[in-house]
């Protein structure tokens, strides 16, 4: 019975292929756009999540602030107001997990005939904890290496590839600005950071070695940057407060005067970045859904035309015994078939387009079953919703009026 109505619907669609196809096209484009947009959005969300977890969690960055010298103020991180002792004091605060003073820069590194300019991070072993960065071969340097300023280095994957090629860097000696360094460990790959830079293009060396032998700081014992990790995200506001109080006290800043350091909550920044990509991907989906809506209205439009055009046929069907629900089902099925087939084609095209975007631009796209299910559900809904009114209009026709229709 119902199956027969499905057959009748199918037959009617076959009778006007071009129109059926054009109606379907609205659905194809709508669903294709939704799939493409959602895949790109989910890819972006995934990428952000990945770089956030690569960055490390519950992080503060302390930058030394401006020092006024004769009216000329240096920018943030410009001065050297932060002492290594400050970092040690912060480590004693409750809620603080790891503290790593950092002195970084970039330098030319030479190994045999190869040379490579890379980022050099001078820091303490707790830096690796703060950034949840692991050493996959060899060992991290220790606090005693920092105390005695030994010339050891941890090497990132990109730097290792460029300097050593297929060779195993472990135990090899390379030169940073003429000074020889022994590679004691190889870092796990971290990929792109939040700022888009390749985090694996780096060497990590003891802080003291960086200050005294590589960059030659005028202020040994001071740093521009300290990374602070808290135990949990919940304690971050409390730690921010106690850390600020501690530093103001240590730096003897009187009431009413500005801090001589900057404190940034990296986790909050990352969270807001994640939130904005989430909103962006929702927005993309919403915009694409509009085209789905337009496709649905197209179906309704064509179905209304079709009902008017086929009034006489409806009259004939009623004259030979079609009930209201037979006519309703026939037209409803027609709308549903159009939207469901349109949806399947749109799904296919959307997936192809998403893969094309991935291979052409290198953007990560994620095609999830959820996306497909959502698109399919929406298409079926659109078919029923926009098909119902025309179908009901057809079913409610008066048999004799419909038969008389020319």
């Amino acid at each position: 019975m119902t199956l027969a109505m499905l057959g009748e619907a199918w037959r009617a669609m076959g009778a006007n292929r071009l129109r059926t196809f054009l109606t379907m096209l609205g659905m194809v484009i709508g669903v294709g756009a939704v799939v493409l947009m959602m895949s790109i959005g989910q890819g972006a969300q995934h990428a952000i999540k990945q770089s956030i977890s690569a960055m490390g969690s519950n992080l503060f960055i302390l930058l030394s602030g401006s020092t006024s010298s004769g009216g000329a103020r240096s920018g943030s991180g410009g001065g050297y107001t932060l002492k290594v002792e400050d970092a040690e004091a912060i480590a004693g605060l409750s809620g603080v997990q790891a503290v790593a003073p950092i002195h970084s820069g970039s330098a030319q590194v030479v190994y045999g005939p190869n040379n490579w300019s890379t980022a050099i991070i001078g820091t303490t072993p707790s830096y690796l904890d703060a950034r949840s960065w692991t050493v996959i071969a060899g060992n991290a340097f220790t606090d005693s290496d920092v105390r005695s300023a030994t010339r050891v280095a941890l090497i990132g994957q990109t730097s290792a590839d460029n300097l050593f090629g297929d060779e195993n860097p472990l135990g090899k000696t390379l030169r940073i600005r003429q000074s020889p360094f022994v590679i004691v460990g190889i870092l796990a790959s971290k990929g792109q950071g939040m700022d888009g830079r390749d985090q694996d293009d780096t060497l990590i060396i003891p802080l003291t070695t960086a200050q005294r032998q590589v960059f030659g700081s005028q202020f040994p014992g001071s740093v521009r940057m300290v990374m602070v990790q808290t135990t949990t995200q919940e304690v971050m506001p409390a730690v921010e407060k106690s850390m600020t109080g501690l530093l103001r006290q240590r730096h003897r800043i009187r009431e009413g005067f500005d801090n001589d350091f900057y404190l940034r909550n990296l986790t909050a920044v990352a969270d807001s970045a994640a939130e904005s990509t989430r909103i962006m991907s929702m927005l993309l989906g919403a915009i694409a859904s509009v085209s789905l809506l337009v496709g649905g209205i197209g179906i309704m439009n064509i179905m209304l035309v079709s009902v008017t055009e086929r009034t006489r046929e409806i009259g004939i069907r009623m004259a030979i015994g079609a009930r209201e629900r037979d006519i309703l089902l026939q037209f409803l099925f027609e709308a549903i078939i159009i939207s469901v087939i349109g949806c399947l084609i749109g799904l296919g095209l959307g997936v192809v387009a998403a893969l094309l975007v991935e291979s052409l631009t290198g953007t990560i796209v994620i095609i999830s079953a959820g996306t497909g299910a959502v698109a399919f559900g929406v298409a079926a809904f659109v078919g029923i919703f926009f098909g119902f009114y025309p179908a009901r209009k057809a079913a409610r026709l008066d048999p004799i009026e419909a038969l008389r229709y020319q």
Binding site: M1, I316, G321, E324, I400
Partner: protein
């Protein structure tokens, strides 16, 4: 009369027009017995088609009662009327009214879809009836590929497919030449011999001769109702 298929009492029908109510049928009374063959005649505009549409449950009267097989049609719901059109009545139109993009077989089988008969049975039954009207060779042809007379045979096959007890035909030969018209009438006669009640509208006295009874309409009333006189007899 116990076995009256159609019993019509004080039937009125008027159309609402811009100039007010326009009466078309005025107090029509008619009883048709099972197995009868009735020709309805009358001048153009006398209300014959209007009457036939009411008989066929396609239209509703403005007043009076219509009993079909003893059931008061005026009290039936839309779906029950559809069921009557599907199983009890076979309607044959002047303009054939076949569905254009469907093979003859599918056209004939169409009424069976609406009573839930499965596909193979439908097709079998359609082929049987096409054979009955002499069109077994055209099972898969499209309606526009055959002549008017053949199309009317298909329409009759479609009207018969669900074993109706009543065939209603509004000027079934109106679009056909007299020879083809005679063939169609022969078909109706043989159906009538099998016990099917037939009511048909015609303008032509020759066609009406095939019926057993003639009912004349004039200006929305039945003015004459008599058995068909034998050809050659004088009035």
């Amino acid at each position: 009369m116990v076995d009256a298929v159609i019993r019509i009492e004080h039937l009125y029908k008027s159309y609402a027009t811009s100039a007010g109510e326009f009466p078309v049928l005025k107090d029509v009374n008619l009883t048709i017995a099972s197995g009868d063959f009735v020709a309805i005649m009358g001048p153009s505009g006398s209300g014959k088609s209007t009457f036939m549409n009411i008989l066929g449950c396609l239209d509703k009267p403005s007043g009076g009662t219509y009993r079909l097989d003893g059931r008061n049609v005026g009290e039936l719901a839309r779906d029950e009327l559809a069921k009557l059109r599907n199983r009890t009545i076979g309607f044959v139109f002047q303009g054939f009214n076949l569905l254009p993009r469907m093979s003859l077989q599918d056209n004939v089988a169409l009424p069976l879809i609406y009573c839930g008969i499965e596909r193979e049975t439908r097709r079998e039954r359609a082929r049987e009836l096409l054979a009955r009207v002499g069109l077994e060779r055209y099972v898969d042809a499209m309606p526009n590929k055959i002549s008017g007379g053949q199309q009317q045979r298909v329409a009759i096959a479609r009207a018969l497919v669900n074993h109706p007890s009543l065939i209603l035909a509004d000027e079934p030969t109106g679009n056909l030449d007299s020879h083809t018209g005679e063939e169609i009438m022969a078909l109706f006669e043989s159906l009538n011999r099998e016990g099917i009640t037939i009511v048909l509208v015609t303008h032509e006295a020759d066609i009406a001769q095939h019926a057993q009874r003639q009912v004349h309409f004039l200006d929305g009333r039945i003015v004459r109702d008599h058995p068909t006189l034998q050809v050659g007899a004088c009035v």
